[in-house]
Amino acid sequence: MKLVVPSDPRFLSIARNLVSEVSAICGLPDEARQGVTLALDEAVANVIRHAYKNRYDQEIELDCQANAERIVFRLLDEGEPPDPARICGQPLNDVSLSGRGTHLMRAIMDEMSYRQTSGKNELRLVKNLPRAQVSTAGS
């Protein structure tokens, strides 16, 4: 499933709705579904702010693929590559105003990786599904 949205914050809710619905259909419990929706929203917001420097007329592609074990989200943009330090996530302190989005993504998702492919930035975020987690824990 693929969604292409403008890099305009007014359309963030469309991406959130897609992620939430896909997560629900795949069987994620409510709290996990809310978390995954938040993680993807943070990822799209990061693209708008950092890759596209708040230019609202660019494109962001969100690709969702699911199987019995996991949901894989891929976010593609043609903006500036991310700062590796930001992708790694900064340690939180009580008064920092930035860096929380990346922290949230890492805290919520099971895998997070970045690469450049065909001149695009690709952020890959993976959430394991409950049955897969039970199976892994029991193996």
């Binding site: 305009d8 914050p9 007014r10 963030l12 809710s13 959130r16 709290e31 809310q34 978390g35 938040l38 929203d41 943070e42 917001a45 708008i48 702010r49 939180l92 009580d94 008064v95 105003l97 930035s98 929380r100 989005g101 922290h103 949230l104 805290a107 919520i108």
Partner: protein
């Protein structure tokens, strides 16, 4: 579910209460920041009601932190209440539940 953010302000004695509703994200957090900072200028005790907020992201949390900082710098009191569901989840994930003064209910804000 309200898609956009809304804010309204009311007074309860010396306390200014800001009721927030809807979704707070990168698109609405600049307006949130402006509304809260303006309201803080007019009072020494502000309470933010988050019960009607169905969604908040890190940009919204950053706005709340900025208002908290301003309150601390100007020796004013800022309290959050109605912190539940998605809002509570984000505050917990960002380890901020201990940073803000959080009341369980509006009654507690008024008489606490």
């Amino acid at each position: 579910m309200q898609r956009t953010m809304g804010a309204s302000t009311r007074s309860a004695g010396e306390i200014t209460i800001v009721d927030l509703v809807g979704q707070i994200d990168l698109g609405s957090s600049p307006a949130l920041r402006k509304t809260l900072l303006n309201s803080l200028k007019t009072t020494n005790h502000m309470a933010i009601n988050l019960a009607g907020v169905s969604y908040i992201d890190s940009s919204g949390i950053a706005s709340l932190i900025e208002v908290l900082r301003e309150a601390q710098d100007t020796k004013k009191r800022l309290v959050l209440f109605g912190v539940e569901g998605a809002v509570l989840q984000v505050l917990q994930l960002t380890r901020l539940t201990g940073v803000f003064e959080i009341a369980q209910t509006e009654e507690q804000v008024l008489h606490g």
